[in-house]
């Protein structure tokens, strides 16, 4: 490990794993509480309930009103946030280290004893309905979300994170309380702390906060989804751009090929020196945004491409993207390409580690996904170990050119855009 770097771990009495990384020379501390629950756990009647619950989590507990929670966080100078997605719910907080234990009192109260007050339930319902319709005001994000849902159609991993106007009507305090009780349990959680803190008092506090918290999470086992090839064209006559999204399968976060997948996505569309940026934007001026990103989930992964282009040039953009995918699958990466992607990723890993928040989040995620923590040296080595052969094998296994879901949102028609044999008609 790098000088001064050390990890601390403790399994609390009722099963929650705590991971800690003290960092020298900083005043701040960051804490994250991760619970294994998300859109993939939802029943059809209550689609969107994970997001709903996340919006409710700071809106009042059995011991504190929403205003008390807000004012107490503010007095501690603590910034706080929560996010819920497809498979995890994270509550996080960052503050000066000497206020950590007090901030944990608040965070713990919110995590364990949310009250779901009726007026707050009504407010969140209205807000989530607004969020659902606001999606139409964000075509790039809408396309990126849709392309995931299309690729994973038939699997809970394709669930709609926001739900629908219909399911919003079904969510009430009882449904929220039951959902909370089922998934917010100590055996379904990881706690991560990084920065300026003392371990012993932290563990003591966490033991107290989690005492008598019943275990017994009932989370359904999930098989890796079958990727679902499809083409979806949504008409939006008044859009100024044609928004194009493509998705193909990746690998799970714990898969040994995880870094190979990340580096490939980076070389494909992860920056100004990527293939998509060069071919779509720099060479042809077809788009302002031409990107690829890779996301690793618990038992699968996803690579998504986004291009936003003017409607007249959209068919050409589609051809260029599909052409790049064909080339990638056939020829893999150039040696220098892989080396540069490694350099960039290693640099990012190191620079990111200067932030207490980022360090907390990285450790939280890597413990949850792999039951492992990696020092900076180990992280760099894992990246360095990726070979061209591995990348080539990965591309073959993924079968990128025949397992694509494509989504277009804009004025153009399906016939105009998708002529290629690569996507089914």
């Amino acid at each position: 490990m790098e000088k001064g770097e050390r990890f601390l771990r403790q399994r609390l009495s009722n099963g929650t794993q705590v991971v800690g990384e003290p960092m020298a020379g900083v005043q701040s501390a960051a804490v994250g509480l991760l619970f294994g629950v998300g859109a993939r756990d939802e029943s059809a009647k209550h689609f969107g309930i994970s997001h709903f619950l996340e919006q409710m989590i700071f809106r009042g507990t059995e011991h504190r009103s929403a205003r008390e929670i807000s004012e107490q966080f503010d007095r501690l100078g603590a910034s706080y946030d929560s996010s819920a997605g497809i498979e995890m719910h994270v509550m996080s907080c960052q503050m000066l280290g000497d206020r950590l234990l007090e901030a944990l009192d608040l965070l713990g109260d919110c995590a364990r004893f949310p009250a779901f007050p009726d007026d707050a339930v009504e407010s969140v319902r209205t807000l989530q309905l607004q969020e659902i319709s606001q999606r139409d005001d964000r075509p790039p994000q809408k396309v990126m979300d849709l392309v995931r849902r299309e690729l994973f159609a038939g699997s809970p991993l394709g669930n709609d994170v926001l739900g629908s106007p219909e399911t919003m009507e079904n969510i009430d305090r009882q449904a929220l309380a039951e959902y909370h009780k089922r998934f917010f349990r100590p055996d379904n959680a990881v706690i991560s702390v990084a920065g300026n803190f003392d371990w012993a008092p932290l563990i003591q506090k966490l033991e107290a906060l989690t005492a008598d918290w019943p275990v017994g999470t009932q989370r359904d086992r999930l098989s890796p989804p079958e990727p679902h090839q499809s083409v979806t064209v949504l008409s939006k006559e008044d859009a100024s751009q044609e928004n194009l999204g493509f998705a193909f399968p990746g690998v799970a976060a714990s898969d040994p090929r995880y870094h190979a997948a990340g580096l490939t996505a980076q070389a494909l569309g992860g920056g100004t020196n990527s293939r998509l940026h060069r071919e779509v934007r720099e060479k042809r001026g077809l788009a302002y945004a031409a990107q690829a990103r890779f996301d690793g989930f618990e038992n699968t992964g996803l690579v998504r491409i986004y291009v936003g282009t003017s409607p007249e040039r959209a068919p050409e953009s589609v051809e260029v993207v599909l052409g790049e995918l064909r080339k990638l699958e056939a020829d893999g990466l150039e040696p220098e390409e892989l080396d540069r992607a490694k350099t960039r990723l290693k640099s990012q890993v190191i620079m990111r580690s200067e932030s207490t928040y980022a360090r907390m989040a990285t450790n939280m995620r890597s413990w949850w996904m792999e039951r492992q923590l990696y020092s900076l040296d180990e992280a760099k080595q894992r990246i360095d170990r990726v070979t061209l052969g591995e990348v080539a094998a990965l591309l073959r296994d993924l079968g990128v050119t025949h397992r694509i879901a494509a989504v277009a949102l804009g004025p153009r028609s399906r016939q105009d855009l998708f002529q290629s044999e690569m996507v089914p008609s």
């Binding site: 319902r125 005001d137 960039r344």
Partner: protein
């Protein structure tokens, strides 16, 4: 006695090169990274209206070809250097920044310096024009961008700050590479450039290198004409069928950037419209009325703008507007209490220290200090300034720069014009 230096034990440096280029730096112990940027004190407000968008287009052209590098070489180099990097144009500044590990700093500085000296060739110009037009089209579909554009025009009228940073399809199509070159020659001189750096570096080495890199650069012009700001209250609704949500901006003038009341103004914006715990948060977010409700301070050299930004569903827009005006009226009549002010200070102080742990944030903070105060401030000095703001200061501020009732209100979304009225 040896002590471990922490990120809070920074050293601050300033140096004016003989060629007029200003350098500012903060050496931060205990980090491996270093963030650096060249800031050109030029932006959209310095443009001829017929050449609207030239600053931003020029920023794009920097990545196409410079004196010593092609675009590919620049992109490749940044990747090889493991750099986080970007460039941005606003109304008053254009900047080119990167963050790298210390061992990659010298080559990174070379590239950043190069970016301020593009060669501006016709063929690259024509290709990049297409990219700019794509960017304009993209943001034409972003409701908040469209709203702010309209709002700035309503607020600033004929003043240069009313112009669109991206330009318009008309001005971008009409622009010639010669016009861009001429703009560059005037505005990208050493007298108009500030170099800022924060993190792990050696100041003497960096000064020597930047001096060497900028030898032979022309001095150019500096400064800008101060145009009198004339704000006329207005209430305008722009029916825009393609959007689903209704967006509203409410703006009033406030202090300029180097005004001593700057921190009071920042505190007011936080109390009124911060993401959490603010007046608008309680009145609009917690009640489910508005998906988005915030207040922001935007400072310029010679003027300032205090703007409230709201997003809601059309059927709630009038109510949201009425509730917001009620909140603004309350603050105007001054019902802020000491406890609220203390909480706000605790929040800001904490985020100041946490931000101070980031080399990027500090590199940006240095410029802010320099332009606001004419010198560099330590975090402790900034903290004291925040601490010293009193209720009386806030009251004096809203007396001099009222939040209500004279405002510029701009709305856009599905609502037809007559469906939204100024609150009673």
């Amino acid at each position: 006695m040896a002590t471990t230096l922490t990120r809070q034990d920074s050293r601050f440096y300033t140096h004016l090169l003989t060629n007029g280029l200003q350098m500012i730096g903060q050496e931060i112990p205990g980090v491996q990274s270093v963030a650096a940027a060249f800031w050109v004190c030029t932006g959209t407000r310095d443009e001829d209206r017929r050449q609207m968008g030239v600053s931003h287009f020029l920023e794009h052209m920097a990545f196409r070809k410079t004196k010593s590098f092609t675009g590919e070489e620049i992109d490749r180099a940044f990747e090889e250097l493991g750099a986080e990097h970007n460039a941005a144009t606003s109304w008053e500044m254009t900047y080119y920044w990167a963050r790298v590990l210390r061992e990659n700093l010298p080559r990174t500085l070379e590239i950043l310096a190069e970016l301020t000296h593009p060669t501006l060739e016709a063929e690259a110009f024509d290709t990049e024009r297409k990219v700019i037009l794509e960017e304009i089209a993209r943001y034409d579909d972003v409701p908040s961008h469209v709203l702010i554009s309209r709002f700035m025009r309503d607020f600033y009228g004929g003043h240069p700050l009313s112009m669109d940073i991206l330009g318009t399809p008309e001005t971008i199509n009409a622009l010639t590479v010669e016009e861009m070159r001429s703009y560059w020659e005037r505005r990208y001189g050493t007298r108009n450039i500030i170099f800022s750096i924060a993190g792990n570096f050696d100041w003497n080495e960096v000064v020597k290198q930047v001096e060497h890199l900028s030898a032979g650069w022309q001095p150019g012009e500096t400064g800008r004409a101060s145009v009198r700001v004339q704000i006329d209250p207005s209430f305008k609704v722009y029916p825009t069928e393609k959007f689903v949500q209704e967006q509203i901006a409410i703006g009033v003038p406030t202090v300029a950037r180097n005004d001593s009341r700057y921190y009071a103004s920042a505190i007011l914006a936080t109390i009124l419209g911060d993401d959490t715990g603010s007046r608008l948060f309680w009145a609009l977010n917690q009640t489910g009325l508005a998906e988005s409700a915030s207040a922001q301070l935007i400072e310029f050299e010679d003027t300032g703008l205090f703007v409230v930004y709201l997003v809601t569903q059309p059927s709630l827009a009038q109510q949201v507007l009425d509730v917001t005006q009620h909140e603004l009226e309350r603050v105007q009549n001054f019902d802020i209490e000491q406890e609220e002010l203390e909480r706000c200070k605790a929040k800001l102080n904490s985020s100041l220290i946490i931000g101070g742990e980031s080399t990027n944030e500090r590199m940006m903070g240095l410029i802010s200090s320099w332009q606001t105060r004419g010198r560099l401030e330590t975090l402790e000095e900034i903290r004291e300034r925040i601490e010293s703001v009193s209720l009386e200061d806030l009251q004096a501020l809203v007396n001099d720069f009222p939040l209500w009732p004279k405002q510029v209100v701009t709305a856009g979304g599905p609502l037809p014009g007559e469906s939204l009225r100024q609150s009673a």
